[in-house]
C-alpha cells in the first residue's frame, strides 16, 4: 500500500486538521517520511485537483481551492456559509477575551448575547471551557479548533492585535485597544 495513498485516505476521512506526528503514529512510519509525502501530495493537488492541502491549527487538512468558493457557496445552503454580524461580534469578543462569561460578553457588546452564544456553540466555533468561580458559577466560553479552521488560523497568536476600541472611544477617533477584534 503506497504511503501517499494512506495519507490521502487518512486526511480525507478525518476532516479535522491532522498533525504529521499523528499521521506517522497511525501509519507506523517515521515523521520525516510523512512530511515528505505530505509535501508531494500537496504539490500533486496543486496541478491536478479542485482540492488543496492547507496547514491549519497545527496540522494538515484537505479543503477546496478558493476559486471554487463561488460555485460552492451557491451550492451549499446559505446559512452554512454565513455568520450574522451579531454572531460574528460575539465570536470576536470570545476570541479576544477568552475564557469569558455570557455576562462579560454582554457587558462588552451592551446587548443580550444569548442567541449569539448558542449559535456559536451549535456551530462549534465556541465551547464551554469551564465555570467562573463567582456567584452563580457562570459558564466560561472559549474558541475551538473549528474556529481556527474556519478562519484559517494556525493558533490564537495569529489573531490580529487589538488596537482600536469601538465601544470605549466612540467619537474621539483615536485608535485604542479593541476594534480589530471585529475582523475575524
Amino acid at each position: 500500500m503506497r504511503l501517499d495513498r494512506v495519507i490521502e485516505a487518512l486526511l480525507f476521512a478525518a476532516d479535522t486538521p491532522v498533525s504529521a506526528d499523528a499521521l506517522a503514529r497511525a501509519i507506523g512510519c517515521p515523521i520525516y517520511e510523512v512530511e515528505e509525502k505530505l509535501e508531494n501530495y500537496g504539490a500533486r493537488l496543486r496541478d491536478t485537483s479542485a482540492l488543496q492541502l492547507v496547514r491549519i491549527a497545527g496540522g494538515y487538512q484537505l479543503c477546496t481551492k478558493p476559486e471554487y468558493s463561488e460555485v460552492l457557496s451557491r451550492f451549499l445552503a446559505p446559512q452554512n456559509t454565513r455568520l450574522s454580524r451579531a454572531v460574528l461580534e460575539v465570536l470576536a469578543v470570545v476570541a479576544y477575551r477568552q475564557p469569558v462569561t455570557l455576562a462579560e460578553i454582554e457587558q462588552v457588546r451592551g446587548v443580550d448575547s444569548t442567541y449569539g452564544v448558542h449559535a456559536l456553540l451549535d456551530r462549534r466555533l465556541v465551547r464551554e471551557v469551564g465555570r467562573k468561580k463567582t456567584p452563580g458559577k457562570p459558564h466560561l466560553y472559549g474558541t475551538t479548533q473549528q474556529f481556527l479552521h474556519v478562519f484559517k488560523l494556525d493558533d490564537l497568536t495569529q489573531l490580529p492585535p487589538l488596537e482600536l476600541s469601538l465601544s470605549q472611544d466612540v467619537g474621539d477617533g483615536i485608535p485604542s485597544e479593541q476594534g480589530a477584534f471585529l475582523l475575524e
Binding site: 485516505a9 480525507f12 476521512a13 478525518a14 476532516d15 492547507v54 479543503c63 477546496t64 478558493p66 476559486e67 471554487y68 468558493s69 463561488e70 460555485v71 460552492l72 457557496s73 451549499l76 445552503a77 452554512n80 456559509t81 454565513r82 450574522s84 454580524r85 460574528l88 451592551g110 443580550d112 444569548t114 442567541y115 448558542h118 449559535a119 451549535d122 456551530r123 462549534r124 464551554e128 465555570r131 456567584p135 452563580g136 458559577k137 457562570p138 459558564h139 473549528q146 479552521h149 474556519v150 478562519f151 484559517k152 488560523l153 495569529q158 490580529p160 492585535p161 488596537e163 482600536l164 469601538l166 466612540v170 477617533g173 485608535p175 476594534g179 480589530a180 471585529l182 475582523l183 475575524e184
Partner: protein
C-alpha cells in the same frame, strides 16, 4: 461523578427552541458538561448513557428545586422532561438484547404467513452489506447539533482566501477606515440595523474590477457602525469568492470577483 446545580438565572428560550433546563453540571467519566448538553448528546448518540449515573443528577435537580424554592416552574418542567427522557433512554439501553448466538427461532404461538423465516437470508445479506460498508470511510463532517435534528447534514465551511495578505494587513486597513468614521448617533435614535446580506449587495456594487484601496472605494460620511458593517460584508464577499484582496506596494487593495 458529581452533579451540582447553580441558582437559576433568567434565561431566554434556547437555540433548540425550548426553555433550557437549569444549569446542572454533570461530571463523570463518560460525560462532562451541562444537563442540556447531556440531553443533546444522548439524543444524538454522542454519549453512552450507560456510563452516566443518573441518580446524582436527579439529586442535583432536587437541590436546585430547594435552592430556588420552585420559582421558575418552566425550567423545572424542562428539567423533568430532560430527566425523564434520559431515564427512559437508559431503561431502553438496559433491556436485554437477543443475541445472534441464541439459535432458537422465535417462538411463535401460531405459524403466520409470511413468516420470519423468509427474512433469515435477508438478514444475513444485510449483515454482509453492513460489514462491507464498514470498510468505507466517508468524510466525517461534524454538523451542528441543530442541523442533525433538521436532517440538513453537515456544514462545509468555505476556507477564506486572502492570499499573501495577512490578517494584520486587514486589521490595519480596517483601522484606517474606522479612523475616518464620524461618531455614531445614540443608540435610541439609530436606524434599524440592516442585514449583512443587504450590506453585501451594497459593498459588491462599490467594488470594481480594478484593485483599489479602501480610501478610494469608501467615500463620503459614514459612522463607525457603518464602517464595521461595511468591512464585515467585504470579508464575507471574499469568503464566498465574490471579492478579491491583494497586497500592493504595502497597501491592501480590494476588487470585485474576476469576470468568469
Amino acid at each position: 461523578m458529581s452533579a451540582q446545580s447553580a441558582p437559576a438565572k433568567v434565561q431566554q428560550v434556547s437555540a433548540i427552541g425550548v426553555t433550557p433546563p437549569p444549569d446542572i453540571y454533570v461530571e463523570c467519566q463518560a460525560f462532562s458538561g451541562s444537563l442540556a448538553t447531556l440531553f443533546l448528546m444522548v439524543r444524538d448518540h454522542k454519549v453512552n448513557l450507560l456510563g452516566v449515573p443518573l441518580a446524582p443528577v436527579c439529586e442535583a435537580f432536587a437541590e436546585y428545586l430547594i435552592e430556588t424554592s420552585g420559582e421558575d416552574t418552566e425550567r423545572a418542567a424542562s428539567a423533568i422532561a430532560v430527566l425523564s427522557y434520559l431515564l427512559e433512554r437508559k431503561a431502553f439501553a438496559l433491556l436485554p438484547v437477543e443475541e445472534a448466538s441464541s439459535e432458537d427461532p422465535p417462538e411463535l404461538s401460531e405459524p403466520m404467513e409470511p413468516s420470519v423465516q423468509e427474512f433469515a437470508q435477508v438478514i444475513l445479506a444485510l449483515n454482509d452489506l453492513a460489514e462491507e460498508r464498514g470498510g468505507l470511510f466517508f468524510r466525517q463532517s461534524r454538523p451542528p447539533v441543530q442541523d442533525l435534528v433538521d436532517g440538513k447534514g453537515g456544514a462545509y465551511e468555505l476556507p477564506i482566501e486572502i492570499g499573501d495578505v495577512t490578517t494584520f494587513d486587514l486589521a490595519r486597513a480596517f483601522e484606517r477606515l474606522v479612523a475616518r468614521a464620524i461618531p455614531d448617533k445614540p443608540a435610541a435614535f439609530r436606524k434599524p440595523a440592516r442585514s449583512l446580506s443587504e450590506m453585501m449587495v451594497v459593498v459588491s456594487r462599490a467594488l470594481q474590477l480594478e484593485f483599489k484601496s479602501l480610501d478610494e472605494i469608501v467615500v463620503g460620511d459614514f459612522t463607525r457602525t457603518e464602517a464595521v458593517w461595511w468591512f464585515l460584508a467585504l470579508l464575507e464577499l471574499i469568503r464566498i469568492g465574490q471579492a478579491r484582496v491583494r497586497s500592493h506596494k504595502g497597501e491592501v487593495q480590494f476588487a470585485g470577483a474576476a469576470a468568469a
